[in-house]
Amino acid sequence: DAGITQSPRHKVTETGTPVTLRCHQTENHRYMYWYRQDPGHGLRLIHYSYGVKDTDKGEVSDGYSVSRSKTEDFLLTLESATSSQTSVYFCAISEWAIRNQPQHFGDGTRLSIL
């Protein structure tokens, strides 16, 4: 299995509080992705990174920010959490951004916002 660790694995917090999720990889892959998984929607891309300090928005980026200061770490921040951000969040990595390159996933963070 690809060396991807997400932390925390579970978190419960209140509306309006900041939340940071961490993804750590040991594969030295260039590309890292944050997705959210919601019933009936599959996985949707929030933000991605194509190198240290190089990030960009995905399809559902509103309310989220990211940072990547080291190759191995990709942080997802909810500046002021809302109940609509209750979801399961997955980090993924890939070595190249080409069509036949599969992405490899962490085990997810289950986030509940009350």
Binding site: D1, I4, Y31, Y33, G40, H41, G42, L43, R44, Y48, Y50, D56, K57, F90, S94, W96, A97, I98, R99, N100, Q101, P102, Q103, H104, F105, G106, D107, G108, R110
Partner: protein, 117 residues
């Protein structure tokens, strides 16, 4: 634009009987296609991938899928279901580099497979 449709949200089979999970895709290019499996409270694990070589692709745990361009389908099959196959399965299409320079992939909404003893 690319899209993926998983035709069944739930499939129930008896242990030892064949499994068929259906996936149709739409793509403007020659895509790559993947199947992933997700067990409860776990991430997505790659089962198999099609990348324009052989149209019949074999994956892990006895699963295989056949790419049919004329039908725009990539159905997942297994001859005999095991209890351990109970999970959610995702069909994924990738056209490659999107406008932002990342690998644009689109996920289906998933099929939950139940295996009855």
């Amino acid at each position: 634009a690319q899209s993926v449709t998983q035709l069944d949200s739930h499939v129930s089979v008896s242990e030892g009987t064949p499994v068929l999970l259906r996936c149709n895709y739409s793509s403007s290019y020659s895509p790559s296609l993947f199947w992933y499996v997700q067990h409860p409270n776990k991430g997505l694990q790659l089962l198999l991938k099609y990348t324009s070589a052989a149209t019949l692709v074999k994956g892990i745990n006895g699963f295989e899928a056949e790419f049919k361009k004329s039908e725009t389908s990539f159905h997942l099959t297994k001859p005999s279901a095991h209890m351990s196959d109970a999970a959610e399965y995702f069909c994924v299409v990738s056209e490659g580099r999107g406008s932002g320079g990342y690998q644009k992939v689109t996920f289906g909404t998933g099929t939950k497979l139940q295996v009855i003893p």
